[in-house]
């Protein structure tokens, strides 16, 4: 796994919480920093792909580890930010 700056454990939470929590965490991070997200919701795989596509934040990695889904998202500053 590549380097990351912060971890968000969204295990046990279902849609839309993983996305909402990730959004909150990413907004507080500096541009260029990487957030590692752990989730158990199988829907989160597609959700994070869509999230990255629509917000401009970069999905660096998407995989599984110890039966959980793990994602690496890089914060990118763009117009979609609030």
């Amino acid at each position: 796994m590549a380097n990351y700056d912060q971890v968000l454990d969204a295990s046990g939470f279902n849609c839309p919480l993983p996305i909402l929590r990730a959004k909150k965490a990413l907004t507080a991070m500096e541009s260029g920093k990487v957030l590692r997200i752990i989730a158990t919701d199988p829907g989160s795989v597609k959700d994070f792909e869509s999230f990255a596509k629509q917000t401009g934040n970069q999905l660096l990695e998407s995989g599984e580890e110890d039966g959980k889904f793990v994602f690496l998202i890089k914060r990118v500053f763009c117009q979609a930010d609030r």
Binding site: G12, F13, N14, C15, P16, L17, I19, L20, A22, K23, K24, T40, D41, S50, F51, Q54, T55, G56, C78, Q79, A80, D81, R82
Partner: protein, 155 residues
């Protein structure tokens, strides 16, 4: 990339109908949408500080039930409370956010929430019972935003 707009008209006040407006609004906000929700009729119940939303399978043949229950039994006293409790328990066990949390996330994401003045007066809702930060308005006002929205949903 100009900001997309989502307008939601929330008209229902039962537990099962309360989730969609807040989930859609909070998710859209997380994706960068500008979101406004217009609460009218029974949707006004979603704005109350103390949420006590109920749900019943009575009249809702589409609701999945753990075991089939005859309609007459569903109408018995206490059944509605029990079904509401069962639904809430299920939500919790499956890790679904509570309504209070989803609503708070919407507020945090600056989703604009508007209460329909007409139905507030009609059903004699007390604005003091609503959460803070609610605006009051009518359909014409909401159409200013809804008319320009990319997605407009009637729930």
């Amino acid at each position: 990339m100009s900001q997309k707009k989502l307008a939601i008209i929330a008209t229902k006040g039962t537990l099962d109908w309360a989730y969609p407006p807040f989930i859609l609004a909070s998710t859209a906000a997380a994706l960068g949408y500008d979101v406004q929700i217009f609460f009218t009729f029974y949707g006004l119940k979603l704005l109350e500080k103390n949420l006590d939303l109920q749900v019943s399978s009575l009249g809702n043949p589409g609701m999945p039930m753990p075991m089939p229950v005859p309609v007459l039994i569903q109408a018995l006293p206490g059944m509605q409370r029990m079904m509401t409790m069962m639904m809430k328990k299920k939500m919790k066990s499956k890790g679904v956010a509570s309504l209070e949390e989803l609503r708070a996330l919407c507020v945090e994401a600056e989703v604009k929430m508007i209460a329909c003045q007409m139905t507030v007066d009609l059903f004699e809702f007390n604005p003091k019972d609503f959460i803070d930060g609610i605006e009051f308005g009518g359909a014409a006002t909401f159409f200013e935003f809804a008319g320009e929205s990319d997605v407009c949903l009637y729930i």
